[in-house]
């Protein structure tokens, strides 16, 4: 009886997230079709959805598994550059098929990267783990900076740190040009496709969290020693969460890349990892709904702050610091709670009078 009640409560929470995503999709789809949207915001729709996927997937590592990862953008870039290669390699197929296969292969390769990186990383604890994920993020960026990929009639050509080693036909096309990044990407990503991916990611994560495996992961987070003595292998479950999260970041990267015509590896540096971490922490660690909302608002916020022009990133920083202070300082939090209570009382009183 008890477990049934608990399960239904959790699924309600999960349902809210699906509803948010669907409402988000419908609202913007209507706005786009009626033309009531600025072109700047319209161009942001796919990146916003990608950042939502990033935030949710990082939340799996930071919130559910309890490990701080500072290199999430690295996995995103693995997915992104894989997608660029795959989508060009299957140039004759239909666009949805190319998008689907690109996302899939991008996710798989990012997952493999996550698994390989997880082997050394997950042996460490706390801040040391964080710095190693940061280091891996930078290493991935550096390696992609040295990667040259071209395509001609014979197929794909790869070269490392030396663009002349590609050995292509004169008619061939360079896809990834080292530090210049990917050029001439076919923009096949759609908002609908991105939202479907977001829903799939949410379904996977929420079902994982509510499963036996998810409870094992959270048990390790809450008390590693107790979990270990219950026969749960920390390495196995941490690795599982880390790999799934990396694969999801890769899928987000794939959609993200196919929304632009050019993309440089530098786009996925440390600052992007931090940006996603900010979404997770501001939305509430372990809270998927919060991640979705925070990612949505914070990606749009610089656009909304346009009227501050040069000062917008400064205002963004101040907003970030103030939100952290208000939500985390005990005194300020207490005052905010009292204020919220008063507002609620007033609203309920007003309701009674009517």
């Amino acid at each position: 009886m008890f477990s049934f009640k608990k399960a239904s409560g959790l699924s309600k929470k999960a349902f809210i997230n699906y509803a948010i995503v669907i409402v988000f999709y419908l609202v913007f789809q209507i706005l786009v079709s009626t033309g009531n949207i600025t072109s700047a915001l319209k161009g942001q729709l796919i990146p916003i959805t990608c950042y939502m996927i990033m935030a949710v997937s990082l939340n799996l590592v930071v919130g559910i598994s309890g490990e701080l990862s500072l290199g999430h953008a690295g996995f995103m870039s693995v997915g992104a550059f894989t997608a660029v290669i795959i989508s060009s390699a299957m140039g004759n197929a239909s666009n949805p098929a190319r998008l689907f296969v690109s996302i899939l292969v991008g996710a798989i390769l990012a997952g493999i990267a996550g698994f390989l990186i997880g082997i050394p990383v997950l042996r460490l604890n706390g801040d040391y783990l964080a710095i190693v994920t940061l280091a891996f993020g930078e290493i991935i960026k550096n390696i992609l900076n040295c990667l040259y990929v071209g395509i001609d009639e014979k197929g794909l050509h790869f070269a490392f740190n030396n663009p002349d080693a590609l050995g292509m036909d004169p008619l061939g096309k360079v896809l990834i040009n080292g530090p210049m990044g990917a050029v001439g990407i076919s923009k096949i990503a759609t908002f609908t496709g991105a939202v479907i991916l977001l829903l799939v990611v949410l379904i996977i994560i929420q079902n994982l969290v509510n499963s036996r495996t998810g409870r094992a992961i959270m048990a390790i987070r809450d008390n590693r020693i107790a979990a270990e003595s219950m026969g749960i292998s920390p390495m196995k479950y941490k690795m599982l969460a880390f790999t799934i999260s990396a694969a999801m970041a890769g899928s987000a990267g794939a959609v993200y890349a196919l929304n632009y015509s050019t993309l440089v590896p530098k786009k996925f540096d440390f600052n992007t990892s931090i940006l996603v971490l900010v979404f997770v922490v501001l939305g509430g660690i372990g809270n998927m709904t919060g991640s979705l909302i925070a990612a949505g608002i914070l990606v749009v916020l610089p656009e909304l702050l346009r009227k501050f022009s040069d000062y917008r990133m400064l205002v963004y920083a101040i907003v970030l610091i103030l939100v952290m202070l208000v939500t985390n300082n005990e005194k300020l939090k207490g005052r905010m709670d009292i204020f919220a209570k008063k507002v609620r009382m007033k609203i309920s009183k007003g309701g009674k009078k009517k």
């Binding site: 050394p120 040391y128 930078e138 000062y311 970030l320 952290m324 202070l325 939500t327």
Partner: protein, 290 residues
């Protein structure tokens, strides 16, 4: 070979000075001060303005930069970090990142995005020939400054009362409070010392690599943080060893392997070290108790 080694040690000395700021703050407040790299940048800009616009002589400009950065460090600590003393470490981390954004964007508005060419303050001195290698005056000054700072800090933390208080706070805040140590003052002092050192590092960094931008501090900041972890975060000699090793590895990777991959190699070495010594070279091994 020798020239590369000396260049590496000098770059490493700059990293070590920055890493000290990270390691001391981490040791005492258990937080990663992400804004530290940007304090370096502010130090660079302040000394730049003092020399170029106000016509200050170099030593006075460095002093001014130190004063401004120390004040800035204390202000940041009071406004942003102190209210979060009892919050989770992630919350403090995000606040520090917010502070880092703030400093970078404030610098962008004040000084603009165009890189500034930092004046060479050692133009009256010539490079020294040593065993066939040319050593630039900046390299020499960086190494000497690093040694002086290291000795002074070691003496400060082991001999003076305030330094001992600092160590006590980093060991156990509660017990230190009971012993009559003013914890808030001690933490502020740590930030002040760290930021003052950041100013020196900023001037040295900008003299050695004379382009000054609002993002100048972020990559050296990350590398210095890596150096601090490398040597064992929280340990002062660890920061020095980590910094110098990192600098030497970086210069050698750049000279003999590939300048594109130098950063990847630096971070790769860090990962290998952490696999075999999970708390850094000189870090304390803390054993878990059930």
């Amino acid at each position: 070979m020798l020239a590369n080694l000396i260049n590496g040690i000098s770059l490493g000395s700059i990293y070590a000075i920055i890493a000290l700021g990270y390691t001391m703050v981490y040791g005492i407040a258990k937080m990663l001060n992400f804004a530290h790299g940007d304090v370096i940048m502010v130090g660079g800009y302040v000394s730049f303005c003092a020399m170029m616009y106000l016509g200050f002589p170099a030593p006075l400009a460095v002093l001014l930069a130190m004063i401004v950065c120390t004040t800035l460090g204390i202000t940041i600590e009071r406004l942003a970090y102190k209210p979060l003393r009892s919050a989770t470490s992630l919350a403090v981390l995000i606040t520090a990142i917010g502070m880092s954004y703030f400093l970078q964007n404030a610098a962008l508005i004040i000084w603009g995005a165009n890189p500034k060419a930092f004046p060479n303050m050692f133009k009256n001195f010539e490079a020294i020939e040593f065993a066939g290698a040319r050593i630039s005056p900046v390299a020499l000054v960086a190494i000497i400054a690093n040694v002086i700072i290291m000795v002074a800090l070691t003496l400060f933390t082991s001999r003076t009362k305030v330094g001992k208080a600092m160590r006590a706070v980093s060991e156990d805040k509660g017990a230190a409070t009971l012993m009559g140590i003013n914890v808030n003052f001690t933490i502020s002092l740590t930030f002040a010392i760290g930021s003052g050192l950041a100013a020196i590092a900023g001037v040295l960094l900008c003299t050695a690599y004379p382009t000054l931008m609002p993002t100048t501090g972020s990559m050296p900041g990350i590398k210095a943080f890596t150096a601090a972890v490398f040597g064992g975060i929280g340990s002062i000699p660890g920061a020095m060893i980590g910094g110098i090793l990192l600098g030497v590895i970086e210069i050698f990777a750049r000279a003999y392997i590939s300048s594109e991959l130098a950063d990847a190699i630096v971070f790769g070495v860090l990962i290998v070290v952490l696999i075999f010594r999970p708390t850094g070279l000189l870090g304390k091994q803390i054993h878990e108790k059930v």
